[in-house]
């Protein structure tokens, strides 16, 4: 199977779906880059991380639409276009910027179908990068998927590897509901096996990235490779770790999670989103509610401190859930007999 980066896998998914369906359009600031500059008609950026590179050259300005820096109008226009027959992919460069355009997701796109009695379809994908690790500081490093997950009407995707990124993005583009697709910026360079053609991965199906007997580690997005690394290391000590990647936080594969909990009886949840009211807390509450009798030890959460994301590398490193903290949490839950 060919190898592709997470970045290339996302590009591949968008290209394939734009080839397949003329109603798919890409909207955002610098998704092409170079519109209107003195250099003339060029493709300068293809997104600041190069994720959408080459798409303008292939599909032209009618379908790869550079916009001003205007997030409310990007998401709002995409929502209005989605409910009238296009399938827009709107890029909010850094998902932190949802702060300036949240109304168009929170009060509009997410609620159309319910408010309008089931008559609206809003096949909208809002995608962007998230997460700490590049010293991008407090306004370019957050992982706010917990906020989107709290909103009924939105679907939320947090892919952790190139294969999943491509399959889940194709599913997102073909889905008739609004989807927030959260790309972790630390993963763009990650390489993995990715088939050439189009394929879909259903939402709400967790992936067991490691199978194990002693403890379940539930991890999301960039936390998954960290959990995998810890699992691989501890195997030498005879500690068998199961790593569960939910892949989508809305819908959430409760059954898939509970099955692993029932199997191991011990749970660590690794979540970068928030110290309070994050996905770790949500999943923990779900397990307490539905799987309490399967637990042999208290659930342990590995989450950041309740602070903005710091800039300075040592501070940021300490802020992010690390392999060391994951390992320590595993050892803690294994102590209880």
């Amino acid at each position: 199977m060919p190898k592709r980066s997470y970045r290339a896998a996302i590009n591949d998914a968008i290209r394939l779906e734009m080839e397949r369906d003329p109603n798919v359009v890409l909207i955002g600031e610098d998704v092409r880059g170079g519109s209107g500059g003195s250099a003339g008609d060029v493709e300068a950026y293809g997104g600041v991380m190069g994720v959408t590179k080459g798409l303008w050259t292939k599909f032209g300005s009618d379908r790869v639409i550079d916009t001003p820096i205007t997030e409310s109008a990007i998401v709002g226009m995409a929502a209005g276009a989605a409910m009238t027959g296009l399938r827009p992919i709107a890029e909010i460069m850094f998902l932190d910027f949802f702060g300036v355009c949240y109304d168009m997701l929170y009060n509009q796109a997410a609620k159309f179908r319910y408010m309008f009695g089931g008559k609206a379809r809003t096949p909208l994908v809002v995608r962007g990068m998230m997460g700490a690790g590049l010293s991008a500081a407090a306004q370019h490093s957050q992982a706010p998927y917990n906020v989107f997950t709290a909103v009924a009407g939105l679907k939320v995707v947090v892919p952790s590897n190139p294969y999943d990124a491509k399959g889940l993005l194709i599913t997102a583009i073909r889905d008739d509901d609004p989807v927030v697709f959260c790309e972790h910026k630390l993963l763009y360079g990650l390489s993995g096996e990715v088939p050439d053609g189009a394929y879909t991965i259903p939402f709400g199906e967790a992936n067991y990235t490691r199978e194990g007997e002693h403890v379940t580690v539930i991890a999301l997005s960039a936390m998954v490779p960290r959990a995998n690394a810890v699992a691989d290391r501890l195997r030498a000590e005879g500690i068998s770790v199961e790593v569960v990647d939910p892949r989508t936080t809305s819908p959430l594969d409760e059954e898939g999670i509970l099955e692993s909990v029932a199997h191991t009886g011990r749970v660590v949840i690794v979540d970068e989103s928030a110290a309070r009211v994050g996905i770790a807390h949500d999943i923990s509450a779900m397990i307490a509610d539905q799987g309490f009798r399967d637990l042999r030890a208290p659930i342990k959460l590995v989450v950041p401190p309740h602070t903005p994301v710091p800039f300075s590398p040592p501070l940021e490193k300490a802020w992010m859930p690390s392999e060391a903290r994951i390992e320590a949490a595993i050892r803690t839950v294994l102590k209880d007999q």
Binding site: V25, S72, G80, T84, L86, K155
Partner: protein, 339 residues
């Protein structure tokens, strides 16, 4: 690019291009909106209308003057004060009234209410309870028309209050940059909730501010159907021709409070009574086209529409009151298309 039309405009000269059938159709919708809102004003006092209701009475000439140019395939986005836009765009009266009463027969099954009436088949993208919310959405509907090369247009209805919202500015700039077939209509009824537009609109003129975005913008008398109709005709023709967006600021009157139950302490005691006596869009229309005006349409024909409107609304209220509330089995449906 801004022009201030005289107020009141010479309606007679503007209406001469309309056929008798067009004049009758326009009046029929305007009087239906009036009858709908006057009746809701009464129904609301019974306590049987849940939640908030915002009445459109006094602004009928704007919704109708614009929507008479639109087909079902054209889109509009509306406001919390949306009943007039819905009727002007052809939404079903029974579906609307059922929705306002929170019944299963409502156009949204009782899940939306007065502030979220939508009928996508009629190109009505929803009343919108977020002030200014329609502007980006209508801009998106215009993007659909442009991308699919349909020749269709979209209209964003907003008020003087919405004119100050940042997302409206963003939508206007986006529409200019992408040359989208969208019309921004600002109904300046003098008040954003309880605050005067003379206080809250820093530039004084919404149209002049819109012109600053690089689009044609006119200020018209929003009580004068013909002034609105003529301005909308130009703007919509321009949009259909691929020449991009326009703005109309329609200066209007709000006969009632921001919401039903609003004591209107911010308005002088005699303001509304004086306005109603002096300026009524329906009377203005009748004076222009009826016996005292061009004699294009008989007063009897217009009177018949008044009677018909009252009867239609009465039937809708009776039907809504008799209709069942939504079954609890619908509580968790319609959140997603698929899960």
């Amino acid at each position: 690019m801004t022009t201030d039309t005289a107020w009141p405009t010479a309606a007679a000269s503007l209406c001469s291009s309309l056929s008798e059938a067009q004049l009758l159709a326009a009046y029929r919708r305007m009087t239906l909106i009036r009858a709908f809102e006057e009746r809701l004003h009464i129904e609301n006092t019974t306590g049987d209308v849940p939640g908030f209701v915002h009445l459109y009475a006094g602004q009928e000439a704007i919704a109708v003057g614009v929507c008479e140019h639109l087909a079902d395939s054209d889109y509009i986005g509306s406001t919390h004060r949306g009943h007039g836009h819905c009727i002007a765009k052809g939404c079903d009266l029974h579906g609307m009234m059922g929705e306002i009463f929170g019944r299963a027969t409502g156009v949204c099954g009782g899940k939306g209410g007065s502030m979220h009436i939508a009928d996508l088949e009629r190109g009505m993208l929803g009343a919108n309870a977020i002030v200014g919310g329609a502007a980006p959405l209508a801009t998106g509907a215009a993007l659909t028309h442009k991308t699919k090369r349909t020749g269709g247009v979209a209209v964003s209805f907003t008020g003087d209050g919405g004119s100050n919202q940042g997302l409206v500015f963003e939508a206007m700039n986006m529409a200019v940059v992408l040359k989208l077939p969208v019309l921004f209509v600002f109904e300046n009824n003098g008040y954003g909730e309880g605050t005067g537009a003379d206080y809250a609109v820093g530039s004084g003129s919404i149209a002049k501010r819109a012109a600053g975005f690089g689009m044609p913008a006119v200020r018209v008398d929003g009580t004068d159907f013909f002034a609105v109709h003529a301005a909308a005709q130009d703007a919509i023709a321009r949009a259909r021709a691929g020449l991009g967006p326009s703005t109309i600021e329609a200066v209007a009157l709000r006969y009632y409070g921001h919401f039903e139950g609003d004591p209107m302490a911010y308005r002088a005691a005699d303001e509304v009574a004086n306005l109603r006596a002096q300026v009524d869009p329906l009377k203005l229309f009748r004076a222009a086209v009826g016996g005292a005006g061009l004699r294009r349409v008989s007063d009897a024909a217009l009177d018949a529409f008044d009677v018909e409107a009252t009867a239609s609304v009465d039937a809708a209220v009776k039907a809504a009151r008799a209709a069942p509330f939504p079954g609890l089995e619908t509580l968790e449906t319609d959140v997603y298309v698929s899960l």
